[in-house]
Assembly symmetry: C2
Homo-oligomer: 166 residues x 2
């Protein structure tokens, strides 16, 4: 019997150990463009390391996951942060773990609204993109360059996520 | 009588002198995440220069522009590229100029679809965010750090843009 993980709303406070929530936070707002535009400034930072590395923008198109979903693995990127901003106007799940001696601890599951992106800090364990219900596009800011930027971990006993109620 | 600028569809070919179109280009696709996700790779690059600079992610919320719209000024950023990816599922206008001896030439106007972002190369003249019809949010990737990163130019004779037909 797999352990079923609780699904919590995504908030800046809850996500702080893992990175930043990219949302229109009124406390970060300044007016620009002669008052036409609200700039929510520096909600996240793209960090890349290593010689010959560059910050790149990509689109990820994820197929919806089946539920209940078995979380059998997690991954992390030693050389860069990685951000996901939803372009399709749909909520999605964010699954992250604190590091425990080089392995991911028990995953934490957050339900992100359609107007919330996330930025995983460098080396933060996360599950690959988990979309709900329909194929969904995301703008992804991460890294291109030489070096091994992917580490994967497979759980001996997977965890389960029930279908989230939207 | 102001000169009315034509509005053209945004395409990678037409936009090439100014930067990149950030769209799900099938030629840049590779499957990742065990086949779950299509990654449209490195559609654009964030370029920042200068000591102490970092690549940041922001949200811009633009109020709709009135039409006919008078293009009275253009701006450029000497220290960074700047990308705009629509988060609100709405088309918008992109207004850019080639540089002519340190000043913007006659502006070129592109109608971007809701699924097309743009990345202005460093030092490319552009008009501030031009949304249509309703307030719209964009993910913006640009720069934070010291130094003067804004240059503005005001036309002695503005240009006009008619309300685009969507």
């Amino acid at each position: 019997m797999l352990k079923t993980l609780p699904v919590r709303p995504l908030t800046q406070a809850a996500f702080k150990p893992f990175g930043q929530v990219i949302e229109a936070d009124a406390s970060r707002m300044k007016l620009i463009n002669g008052g036409n535009t609200e700039r929510f400034h520096a909600l996240a930072e793209a960090e890349v390391v290593g010689d010959g590395a560059r910050v790149i923008l990509n689109i990820f198109r994820g197929q919806p996951r089946p539920f209940p979903y078995d979380v059998a693995m997690m991954e992390r990127h030693p050389l860069c942060s990685q951000s996901f901003s939803p372009l399709s106007g749909r909520p999605y799940l964010v699954v992250v773990s604190e590091d425990e001696d080089g392995k991911p601890g028990e995953p934490q599951v957050f339900l992100a609204r359609a107007d919330q992106g996330v930025n995983y800090r460098r080396n933060v364990w996360h599950h690959p993109l988990m979309t709900i219900g329909e194929p969904s596009d995301f703008l992804v800011v991460d890294r291109d360059g030489p070096g091994n930027n992917l580490e994967e971990f497979f759980f001996s006993q997977p965890y389960s996520i029930s279908e989230p109620s939207l």
